[in-house]
Subunit: 218 residues, 2 copies
Amino acid sequence: MITLTEENYIKAIYHLGKQGTGTVNTNSLADAMNTKASSATDMIKKLAEKNYANYKKYQGVSLTKEGKKVAINIIRKHRLWEVFLVEKLNFTWDQVHEVAEQLEHIKSQKLIDELDAFLGFPTQDPHGDPIPDKDGKFEQVEKTSLFNAKESINYVCIGVNDSSADFLKYLDGNHIGLGTNIKIIHKEPFDNSVKIQFDGSILVVSQNVAKNLFLKEV
Amino acid sequence: MITLTEENYIKAIYHLGKQGTGTVNTNSLADAMNTKASSATDMIKKLAEKNYANYKKYQGVSLTKEGKKVAINIIRKHRLWEVFLVEKLNFTWDQVHEVAEQLEHIKSQKLIDELDAFLGFPTQDPHGDPIPDKDGKFEQVEKTSLFNAKESINYVCIGVNDSSADFLKYLDGNHIGLGTNIKIIHKEPFDNSVKIQFDGSILVVSQNVAKNLFLKEV
DNA sequence: ATAATTATTTAGACAAGTCTAAAAATACAG
DNA sequence: CTGTATTTTTAGACTTGTCTAAATAATTAT
């Protein structure tokens, strides 16, 4: 049996370690879990014990194949529930995260498979992130941040990095969403702000915003 | 903050104590929770401490107004999720309970209100039990068990008492469900079995079945 | 009314997950 | 390369919910 806390640690290791491929150090894991390094160490040992993680003292932690499988399954559930909440229950994209964090831990294979079918086998969640299929396969879309994007090229918004409610509300307030077509008018070297054009309007966004908005060339 | 375990104890007290109006003794509570009497005592104390339960040593436990509110809210969530699972995700009525037991603990007022609306404000779950509305109000339907029903009167099946998967599968196998019209042909005094007629077929059911099938006169 | 039985509570212990404080290992700067 | 700073681990303790075993209260039977 895998506990709720174990699942959350596994998920955190996955996200911190470049989609499960890299090593994560104890302090960043503790930070991500809002806990202390000593607690993280204890849990890392337990995960290694249960064969979800590779661990050598002072060398950081990474997920085993088994651990990655668990992580991807949680992510699949999280993102499917997000689609459900937005498409069927009138949630906005900044409201879904908190509830999906709870729903992702419900244990029932039938539930998630039926939900997937009910939603029409979606491939992206409301923030543009890919949804793993039943076998854990998913496409990592080629994406550039607005910060790294080039002037005078046409882009379309395909996702966000920081999905904090505040950031998502900011985007909503400025009428930027998935699918919005964006062109860079000017990149200001002084403060790294970016002047963009979309839907006929012009907007200057901060470096912070630019780094968290993902685009794709069209 | 109320914990998952506390919620489950409150729910059990509600169900055991005649919909929250009566007193429950420690042993039955422990049995219902699959735990030991000493554990039940500990939890009862905690619930009394937090004002969800009334408790005097050796006198059993009952829910406070606050406790009843919590119980009814959990039941509301449980039953709404059951409707969702059956109507939208192709679950059969014997498959819903286990998953609804998990879903009922998800914390989000918006989630449950939106789900309620999405389902069209249903008043009964798939087993015929009433669903409390947003304010905790619900109709307790007048029901007789088949065991107590009288011969030669027309009844309709409106619910079940024992909602174990085995019992529900038995009913499915015999094509009895909510809404099935039933008439008693003969009550056998020897073993309390009951011969019934429905949809043109004739069936003899055991006392056990008769006690767990709820009917309403038509 | 008293003895036997049953129900309930208490006491002390354990596992999971967390914490603080201190020790040990690693990394970094001069 | 050596000392300092940082990171990580260990040790011991606390909380929640559980257990067993023993003590106490309530109930039932004679």
